[in-house]
Subunit: 400 residues, 2 copies
């Protein structure tokens, strides 16, 4: 189980803080800092968008070194589509915070989320850095989370503890989501802090696996962000024997990581813009995982499917239509579709009876859709949300 | 110019009719028949969806012969995902109408649109065939159009006349759209009638070209239907010298065809479910037409872009983000984005000033977006609609 409570979110050797500096309106927190007392092993996964935001470009360069000590993140402004100036802005706030923290500038990672296309208000940020650093505290991770939220309705934070030999290790993750959420990479921002001592190559490998099974397996609106960033810092303060594969201790740590990333990814979908439902889509018996993912994404991103889920309408014909348009080789007669335990389509035709039970299923807030392609033995699991009036409302006027 | 008026829609040698037989509720017309006194050259383009509806499967087989004499089309029921029984239903209504019309059964094409997954009420259809045939008349094409509409708010019908040598030739087209509209193939149903005498191979070639530039260049919701069907019948009654390429007369006819298909395709977008705006997206300076189309589709189908257009919000950052996620090789600094005549993005950064003019543009009902990739000399033009509350409203409860 994922642990909760402010104290459970503290990770030995890490300090954090989140404050309001005036990037967002209304006094809401908008600048976060996560700091490890010791340089930490670092791994990151970033957006596949060609138009990578300035902080993403900077982090991708710095993460190659494999070490980091601080993450400075802001909400309210994405510092994307800001050209060379935007990159210089990212460098400037990194330099500012590294001086205050008295660490090597190259050990700072930066992240931004919010509106695309505006310059960062770096004066405001720099003027508040003293206050941000002075306020760093061991229970500050929830404050940092609050400061990276944009249209999120609730904070996304999760923690796990486990044993690595005789030493207890802690892992805590925070994320923000809401809009521009699609596989590869899905979350806009997610940061993970652990005191585990782990080999850098191993950390990198298992972090990528965890991200692929979680943040790269969710979609809210099919829109890939310019700023998607997932970073993990492991500072080794727990003093365990360094984790390398394969080992039982690594398996435990991996399990902790997977449960935290999965929990946060599902939280992002549950809090998708305007979402009223969480829909799990399992595509199985595919020829390849790629095929399974293509079908899952096509169904998950179909506005007709999403609006049917919003309306509680068991309109499985739209699911059939979406599957058929995924660009995957199919034998129509081999495809079966299940809504929870009820088969609704098989042998090329609808076989649903019991409309009442189907309506009951569609009225739930958590719904499971299973699609069996009958072509092989590969599968993919994806989580998505429905498409509601509120999605339109939130996004028709976000910018202005 | 496209001609209008009931008489302009008559095509020599063609009769048509549309009546209510009880497939749809509320007395609305739901069964259409188009009939050519003489067997006509026929060409068709059909959905790329793997789950092709029964009438599509039947037509694809029959159109190979290159000749047809009647199109029987219904709305209110798609006869899709109905298995072998659905195919037999399509055969049965074809046989019924061919007997009434006293023509070879193989010369009948059928088309259906509406809810997926229910069997056709063939008894109701067969019982009304006598009335349908008796009511055939020279000015019946608008009635046929009315009978193929589903959530369409207005009929889509267009006609052109032109000279082929000393003979006048007429072309009339009808279409229905509204939802499940995406390139390849976009329209759900479109039928074209002409009295031109034209070589079959030539007809097939220019019809495919026309469809690619019109119905395959629009998107409303990115959902590909199981029933998309576009058919043209050319009965040769005009008595012109048969059109073959290349010739001036063929060029004139092609121009007539392109203008009618373009007009109908744009009408479909304008009447897209919940649409309040028609957005023309031109992607130019691409390495290939395929690249240009990929970028255009990604932007057109982005819910964030579509809701911004609905809200009248010049949020070009979302356009940038969509372009970058299209999976096309890009040089970020080479991309330029224009909203009408105003450049908003170039050199990797936003360059918009004059927010007032941008807001004026976004308030219009017809908006032109131009994206120059700076990578080559290929282009693609696409029409799309915005995403509004009404799209959600219409689709949350369409089925039940």
């Amino acid at each position: 189980m994922v642990e909760s409570g402010v104290e459970a979110y503290a990770v030995p050797g890490f300090l954090a803080n989140g404050i309001h500096v005036g990037i967002k309106e209304g006094g809401r927190k908008d600048l976060a800092l996560i700091f490890s007392g010791a340089p930490a092993k670092a791994a990151g996964v970033f957006t596949g968008n060609c138009f990578k935001a300035a902080p993403v470009l900077l982090d991708m360069e710095r993460i190659k070194e494999g070490m980091a000590q601080a993450i400075l993140a802001n909400s309210g402004n994405a510092n994307a589509a800001t050209g060379q100036e935007g990159y210089k802005d990212a460098l400037a706030i990194s330099r500012g915070i590294s001086e205050k923290l008295r660490i090597r500038d190259e050990l700072v990672l930066v992240a931004s989320t919010g509106v695309i296309g505006n310059r960062l208000p770096i004066k405001k940020i720099e003027a508040s850095m003293g206050r941000l650093v002075e306020g760093l505290h061991t229970n500050g991770i929830p404050d940092a989370e609050e400061a990276i939220m944009t249209t999120d309705k609730f904070p996304k934070i999760a923690s796990r503890k486990g044993m690595a030999g005789s030493k207890e290790v802690t892992l805590c993750g925070i994320a923000k989501g809401a809009g521009m959420i699609e596989p590869s990479m899905a979350t806009m921002l997610a940061f993970f802090m652990t005191d585990a001592d782990i080999d850098h190559h191993t950390l990198n490998t298992i972090f990528r696996q965890a991200v692929n099974k979680s943040f790269n397996a969710i979609t809210v609106d099919g829109c890939m962000s310019t700023n998607d960033t997932a970073i993990i810092l492991a500072n080794g303060v727990a003093g365990n024997n360094p984790l390398k594969r394969p080992s039982r201790h690594l398996t435990i740590f991996k399990e902790m990581l997977f449960s935290v990333t999965s929990y946060l990814a599902q939280s992002i979908v549950r809090d998708g813009e305007g979402a009223t439902k969480l829909i799990e889509i399992v595509v199985e018996e595919a020829r390849s995982t790629g095929d399974a993912k293509k079908v899952a994404c096509k169904v998950a991103n179909s506005n007709l499917v999403k609006t049917a889920f919003f309306g509680g309408d068991p309109n499985w014909g739209r699911i059939v239509s979406a599957i058929g348009s995924a660009g995957v080789l199919l034998t129509v007669d081999a495809v079966c579709i299940y809504l929870e335990e009820i088969p609704v389509f098989a042998g090329g035709r609808g076989i649903a009876d019991g409309e009442k039970r189907l309506s009951e299923i569609m009225d739930k807030t958590d719904i499971r859709l299973r699609i069996s392609l009958g072509m092989g033995n590969k599968k993919f699991r994806l989580y998505t949300s429905d498409l509601s009036f509120d999605y339109v409302k939130i996004n028709a006027h976000y910018h202005t």
